[in-house]
């Protein structure tokens, strides 16, 4: 069973089918795309029962020669680090596709690019060959560029180009770093599993240089301070479903790369960078929350809150402990789900009011109770309320970082307070207080919107009460990974 390839390439095949369909057949295009998303998601669920939770080794490995003369291979495989992200990707893409049914123009191209994007994202999490990894990494870039640039808001071209150039400049350094690894391994190889065992041969100096190359690419994707400024702009301009994917999956590629490559292959470089990383993590947390507090645009606020939440992930990573790692991975999953639903919900109100200005609303809770309830729930989840998904992961991140970085963690805890402050302010301004008479005609959420948001809400609550569903799959891998550093 080539399950991973099936998961990854089902969307691509569907994209090709969409390409062949005439563009007037919008219904067919939508059905094909949704079906592809659903099939891919179903396949990824098949991974769960077959996955061996007790081993940190790569599973479902597929290996074919690709360019034998350079020893480039098509290697796919997952472990407890990538499995949650793969499922997150297929799940979020399916919901984003449902959320995209409201797109009215150039439907064919839109779904084509969206499906190509899904293939790219899945490939990044599954590839175990650096060339393949790089290929998929770049593959996500082009669809994103078009999705923002064509279907975006007023400043879409600028946002798209900024996003594209920024991430591309990061990838260039990554390419250099990949080549450096290739030429310094004996025998020359791009095989990630082989490279993970090769680091003892490399001098710390070399590792630091290569680490920086990778770090630039990953930090831009995360986005880590100070490379985060493309994110708010891209989010504000991107259409709703694209924002969802951007926040829920694309940002995770950065932390994933940090854990898989920077940490797994270059421990000496990682160790050297650790004091900087913790500072960056704390800055991300506190500074991101403060910036979010200054926003009046709901989407921008959620975008900055992403900066804050990815800061928790970085904090967990910087803790270099099994607890921190599992916190970071869980936080990635939870942030994907929670921020995904936040973006979808902001999109819902934007579709009705055509504004996202917080102060333009007021008292909506009386008018649209279901929407208000779901939005408040998502906000509370995002600010880390226990019983909802964000709490455990945030806590594990802090717990993982605390033994090593007590003072930094203590500063980071202030971020939680700030997060609460700005989310509450948004709830207050939008839903509470006297009713703003401008919106008395606003309708509550329709079936399509509920279909895309409610699954996320359910998962948010479920993972909040029963984090075991996610944690059990990664425990073995995280324990193994933490062991690498202590050796």
């Amino acid at each position: 069973m080539y399950l991973l390839s099936l998961i990854t390439f089902t969307p691509l095949i569907a994209a090709m089918i969409v390409l062949c369909l005439p563009k007037e057949k919008e219904k067919v295009i939508q059905i094909v795309s949704l079906a592809a998303g659903a099939v891919s998601f179903a396949f990824s669920l098949l991974l769960l029962p077959a996955f061996d939770k007790h081993t940190p080794a790569m599973q479902f490995i597929e290996r074919f020669p690709w360019i034998p003369s350079l020893d480039v291979n098509y290697i796919m495989g997952i472990d407890g680090l990538s499995l949650p992200l793969v499922i997150l990707t297929t799940f979020m893409t399916l919901l984003a596709l449902i959320g995209s049914l409201g797109i009215k123009e150039r439907i064919k191209e839109y779904f084509f690019w969206f499906l190509v994007l899904e293939t790219g994202m899945l490939g990044v999490f599954e590839a175990l060959d650096l060339v393949l990894f790089y290929f998929f990494w770049e593959l996500t870039l082009v669809p994103m560029y078009f999705l923002i640039g064509i279907w975006g808001g007023p400043k879409k071209e600028f946002a798209a180009i900024k996003f594209f150039l920024y991430t591309l400049s990061g990838s260039v350094f990554m390419l250099l770093a990949i080549l450096a690894l290739y030429f310094n391994s004996t025998p020359n190889t791009f095989d990630m599993m082989a490279l993970m065992n090769a680091h003892s041969l490399w001098s710390p100096r070399f590792q630091i240089l290569v680490f920086l190359g990778f770090y630039l690419a990953f930090a831009i994707k995360v986005p880590a301070f100070p490379f985060h400024t493309w994110l708010p702009l891209a989010h504000v301009e991107a259409p709703t479903a694209v924002s969802v994917i951007l926040a829920a999956v694309l940002l995770k590629m950065g932390v994933y790369g940090l854990l898989r490559i920077s940490y797994g292959m270059l421990p000496a470089g990682f160790e050297w960078f650790l004091p900087m990383l913790i500072v960056i993590a704390v800055v991300n947390i506190v500074y991101g929350a403060l910036c979010a507090m200054a926003q009046t645009d709901m989407k921008k606020m959620v975008a900055y809150s992403s900066v804050n939440h990815m800061g928790y992930c970085l904090l967990g990573v910087a803790g270099v402990s099994a607890t921190g790692f599992s916190g970071a991975v869980l936080q990635m999953v939870n942030h994907g789900i929670i921020t995904g639903s936040l973006f979808l919900l902001v999109g819902v109100i934007y579709d009705r009011a055509h504004t996202r200005d917080i102060s333009a609303f007021g008292g909506l809770a009386a008018r649209v109770p279901v929407y208000a309830a779901l939005m408040s729930l998502a906000c509370f989840a995002s600010l880390g309320l226990p019983g909802l998904a964000g709490f455990i992961s945030e806590f594990l991140c802090f717990l993982g970082a605390f033994p090593r970085w007590k003072v930094y963690t203590a500063i980071g805890v202030l971020g939680i307070l700030t997060t609460a402050a700005f989310f509450l302010r948004m709830i207050e301004k939008v839903f509470l207080g006297p009713m703003n008479n401008k919106w008395t005609g606003m309708s509550d959420m329709n079936a399509r919107e509920l279909a895309s948001v409610v699954p996320l809400t359910v998962v948010t609550v479920a993972l909040g009460f029963w984090p075991r569903w996610a944690l059990d799959f990664m425990n073995a891998t995280m324990i193994h990974m933490a062991g690498l550093f202590n050796k």
């Binding site: 920024y166 400049s169 301070f225 100070p226 490379f227 985060h228 400024t229 493309w230 500074y287 403060l290 910036c291 979010a292 507090m293 200054a294 926003q295 402990s321 099994a322 607890t323 790692f325 599992s326 008292g363 009386a366 509370f380 309320l385 226990p386 019983g387 709490f391 455990i392 806590f395 802090f398 717990l399 605390f402 033994p403 963690t409 203590a410 805890v413 202030l414 939680i416 307070l417 700030t418 609460a420 402050a421 700005f422 509450l424 207050e428 839903f431 509470l432 207080g433 006297p434 009713m435 029963w466 984090p467 075991r468 944690l471 059990d472 425990n475 995280m478 324990i479 933490a482 062991g483």
Partner: protein, 658 residues
């Protein structure tokens, strides 16, 4: 019964979910009955457990655990999978708290049937109430500090929902946000304490932590830090100085909610947490002393502020803060039993007072005591019950307050006479302002005749709970004190050598002395506010206007809070400005600028050092650049082909000629 104690928090939770998802919204919804039924079940079970424990049929503490989830932890350079338990731990304090919480919530829910009837969000109100209670009960029974913290936060969020229940009005919205943020500020300390505990102990299970601490593995420094962190959380939740500012505002919510918050479900949590983690405080004398002083300062400040308030609920709110200070102080001086005893008795009479105040407000439609007066004839039951509550809070024999307050004062006297003096003063103030409330509200002549005319006694659904609570306010102290029942149930055995030193006190003498002083204080209150006019009070107010102003401004603590808010707003704006003006410019646009500068430099380099051919190349590229559009976009296939051919031949030649 005890083995199914986990049902106690789960049943209200289930009830709350059912209420949310079933039935239709409306002022006459029948769903509240479900909530009350759930609460009644819990009350019955809690009473059963209490009875069994009191009779010695079961052995406490009782503990049961289930696996919740597991996550990897690192210890000693090795990582392994740690299984986080979720479970119940019932000791004497928990058994008592269960009764208090379920009892007060049941009564509040019954009371609300009438008070909130007709509200368009009647059903939702009960869902929130149930959820609030469920969270608090979870906090009480949990055997795991992480779960305790989770419930703690849920208590916070449900109080947010309930205080801001009438969200169309700006007041409740502001108050709810203030409550949430202020308590969250304290929670940051608690959060850190939890991180610290797990790092040191490697477990969140209370019994294991206790074991670890009692073996002396926890360094005093670490114990102090942890204890202070826990205290920060408790200070936020239990409205202690300096985070008490949220509680007086929190009365913006519906009055029964205030009763619940003040008596059983919210502010009690902080005291209960300190009691639950008492072993950590015992390990750190410094933390103990801090607890005592925080409680002492709170008790005094809040009592003084209550002296000048005219809003009936605000007086009660300040009195809660002050009484919580008493409990905190008791815990700080080693009076574990005394603190919890007062928590229990206070729950009864404070719930009574709030529900009574709600009854008054329901009748008069005003919170302001200056619009009341002479209501005793109009609403006799409310008057009598509230008088009993006031009598109890003043601590006069034979009310419940007498037993608990005397116990606290005894403990504090044994610890430090200075603290005793301050606390005694606070107790006298309590009697003063509480009776002032009674005098202003019920006695004298009606000051607002219109309101007075329309006022009427509340229905039986509301007065019933009042009567029951009044009964409990009188007898609970005696019943619990009899045969040292409470002390047997709720006791903390100090480890050897850690028992706080206390001077021997002549309890009888203390009782008489304090009672006499309290009576004097009540007399003073009567002198000032008991008559038809308040000449004396007015003239005093003129003479001491600076003091009155300071008290009405709540010593400026609100300003500090507002200053903090505006500071964080300002720093947020600063951060965002920095982000757009500096970071974005430097790291994005600057990136482009850098490339351009490098290009310029290399161009200069070309012009100066490389020979003319390359110079010509540069010119060529400039020409190509400027003429690109006119040249290339002519649409001639063969020209494109020519470019390709030229490029390929050039590259081929260049590469091959190496």
């Amino acid at each position: 019964m005890l083995e199914h104690v986990y049902l106690i928090p789960l049943i209200p939770l289930a009830a709350s979910l059912l209420i949310i998802f079933l039935g239709s919204e409306g002022g006459h919804s029948r769903m509240p009955l479900l909530s009350i039924l759930a609460m009644a079940w819990c009350l019955a079970q809690a009473l059963g457990i209490f009875w069994q424990a009191a009779c010695g049929h079961v052995h406490l503490p009782y503990q049961a655990s289930w696996d919740w989830f597991s996550f990897p932890v690192d210890a000693g350079g090795k990582a392994f999978s740690y299984s986080m338990p979720i479970g119940v731990l019932i000791d004497g304090a928990a058994a008592v708290m269960l009764v208090v919480v379920t009892l007060v919530s049941s009564l509040v829910q019954i009371y609300s049937l009438s008070y909130m009837h007709g509200d368009p969000r009647f059903k939702r109100y009960y869902a929130f109430l149930s959820f609030f209670t469920a969270s608090m009960l979870g906090l009480v029974v949990s055997n795991n500090l992480l779960v305790t913290f989770a419930c703690w936060e849920l208590v916070g969020v449900s109080s947010y929902l309930l205080i801001g229940f009438w969200f169309e009005k700006p007041g409740p919205v502001y108050a709810s946000k203030k409550a949430f943020i202020t308590t969250k500020l304290g929670d940051c300390g608690l959060y850190l304490a939890l991180l610290f505990i797990f790092t040191k102990v490697g477990s969140f299970q209370i019994t294991q932590i206790q074991d670890f601490v009692s073996r002396g593995y926890l360094a005093p420094m670490a114990a102090t830090l942890i204890a202070l962190g826990l205290l920060a959380g408790a200070v936020g939740k239990s409205a202690q100085w300096p985070l008490f500012i949220w509680l007086p505002d929190a009365m913006e919510g519906p009055t029964p909610v205030s009763a619940l918050i003040h008596a059983a479900t919210m502010v009690a949590a902080g005291i209960y947490l300190v009691a639950k983690c008492y072993f950590i405080y015992v390990a750190s004398p410094l933390a103990m002393e801090t607890v005592a002083w925080v409680g002492l300062i709170t008790a005094l400040l809040a009592a003084t502020m209550a002296m000048v308030a005219y809003d009936i609920k605000r007086v009660l709110a300040f009195s809660t803060v002050s009484q919580l200070g008493f409990m905190m102080c008791a815990l700080g001086v080693g009076g574990y039993t005394a603190g919890l005893f007062h928590l229990t008795t206070h729950a009864f009479f404070k719930a009574l007072l709030f529900l009574g105040a709600g009854s008054v407000i329901h009748a008069v439609h005003s919170n302001d005591m200056r619009h009341m007066g002479g209501l005793s004839k109009k609403m006799p039951i409310t008057f009598v019950t509230m008088f009993i509550g006031t009598y109890a809070i003043a601590g006069l024999w034979p009310s419940a307050g007498f037993y608990s307050k005397e116990l606290i004062l005894e403990k504090v006297y044994g610890h430090s006479p200075l603290m005793f003096a301050i606390l005694l003063f606070a107790a006298l103030l309590t009697a003063f302002y509480m009776f002032r409330l009674i005098f202003l509200t019920f006695l004298g002549s009606p000051r607002d005749t219109v309101k007075h005319h329309h006022a009427d006694e509340s229905p039986a659904v509301m007065t019933g709970p009042l009567l029951l609570l009044a009964f409990l306010s009188i007898v609970s102290g005696y019943l619990l004190e009899r045969n040292h029942l409470f002390a047997h149930l709720v006791d903390y055995t100090f480890p050897e050598g850690m028992k706080p030193e206390g001077a021997h006190v002549n309890a009888l003498f203390l009782n008489y002395g304090v009672s006499a002083l309290v009576l004097g204080s009540i007399g003073l209150s009567w002198k000032l506010y008991g008559g038809q006019d308040f000449k004396l009070a007015e003239s005093l107010k003129q003479k001491l206007s600076w003091l009155f102003n300071a008290l009405e401004d709540r010593y400026g603590f609100d300003e500090i809070f507002l200053g903090l808010v505006s500071f964080s707003d300002k720093s947020a704006r600063l951060a965002f400005w920095f982000d757009t003006a500096v970071v974005d410019q430097i790291f994005v646009d600057g990136w482009g600028l850098l490339t351009k500068i490098i290009a310029e430099i290399s161009n200069l380099f070309d012009a100066m050092f490389i020979d003319r051919t390359v110079d010509g190349f540069g010119d060529l590229s400039v020409d190509v650049g400027s003429g690109l559009r006119s040249l290339i976009s002519r649409g001639q296939v063969q020209e494109y082909l020519m470019y390709i051919a030229i490029a390929v031949s050039l590259f081929a030649t260049l590469i091959l000629s190496r």
